[in-house]
């Protein structure tokens, strides 16, 4: 059966490209060649903001951690909030930072 399967699956497809395929690909390549290069992500301008956000997240994470250690329910930035809400905000900040970084890398490519 394996030999027969080999024969059947080997002869799976013999599709020839249409006569216009080559022309169509080359037209797309020419368009690509004529297109201006992609605008690179403005790392220099964005870096201070990203660094600030990262520092803020780290500081708040530490503050939250130490507040939980001493059994406190609040941290400076989230004074009137219960701890679970503050944690969700920190998680939200982390997710935002991560998605921004991923998007920036993809734009760069």
């Amino acid at each position: 059966m394996t030999d027969e399967l080999d024969r059947i699956l080997s002869s799976g497809a013999d599709v020839r490209p249409s006569p216009t395929f080559l022309r169509s690909v080359m037209a797309a390549v020419e368009r690509q060649a004529d297109a201006p290069p992609p605008i690179p992500f403005p790392w220099r301008r964005a870096l201070p903001g990203i660094a600030l956000a990262a520092i803020l997240v780290i500081v708040e994470a530490f503050a939250l951690g130490s507040a939980m250690e001493v059994n406190a329910t609040t941290v400076p930035l989230f004074e009137d909030m219960p701890t679970p809400t503050a944690m969700w905000i920190v998680i939200g900040l982390f997710v935002s930072a991560a998605t921004t970084a991923v998007a920036a890398v993809r734009i760069e490519r």
Binding site: M1, T2, E4, L5, D6, I8, L9, S10, S11, G12, A13, D14, V15, R16, P17, S18, F21, L22, S24, V25, M26, A28, V29, E30, Q32, A33
Partner: protein, 185 residues
Amino acid sequence: MTAVDDEAAVDRVLAGDPSAFEGIVRRWQGPLVNLAYRFCRDRGRAEDMAQEAFLRAYRGLARWRRQGMFSTWLFALATNLYRSEIRRIPPVTLPLDRLEPSSGETRDDDVEDRDRAIRRVVDTLPPKYREALILFYFREMDVAAAAASLGVPEGTLKARLARARHLLRRKLPATVWSPRLKEAQ
């Protein structure tokens, strides 16, 4: 056109002559469209997918490291694209019981029905097994080449092939291997 010609064409494209890419398309259009067809079983879509693969190759030519063959790099790139495309929009597959049998008057009709049924079963396999089978047979049963195209170790590919064959045997209805056909083998 040979591997050396491929490399020369790549050099020319990278030096700023996009028309040199035509040689590459001319040489590889057949295999790339064929491979795409094996994934999607739709001629029009296969050409669209192959065109996108060529465009990506054009855009990424500078990333080819020249340690391996150009074709290996091109097939890996195309395979990656085809896999994502098929996962994004899976091809329509008919269940086996909805396959319309031919009149069955001749042995050729029976064989054709059976071959079609087997290909349909392959289309219903989980993606990693289906992709292993597609690449293995497309690369003329060369495990190393198929593994390179899929970006997995050879051992992984062999394991997936064994599992795929096992699933195929389990899924194929008994009618597909009728005594008459077995006699014909």
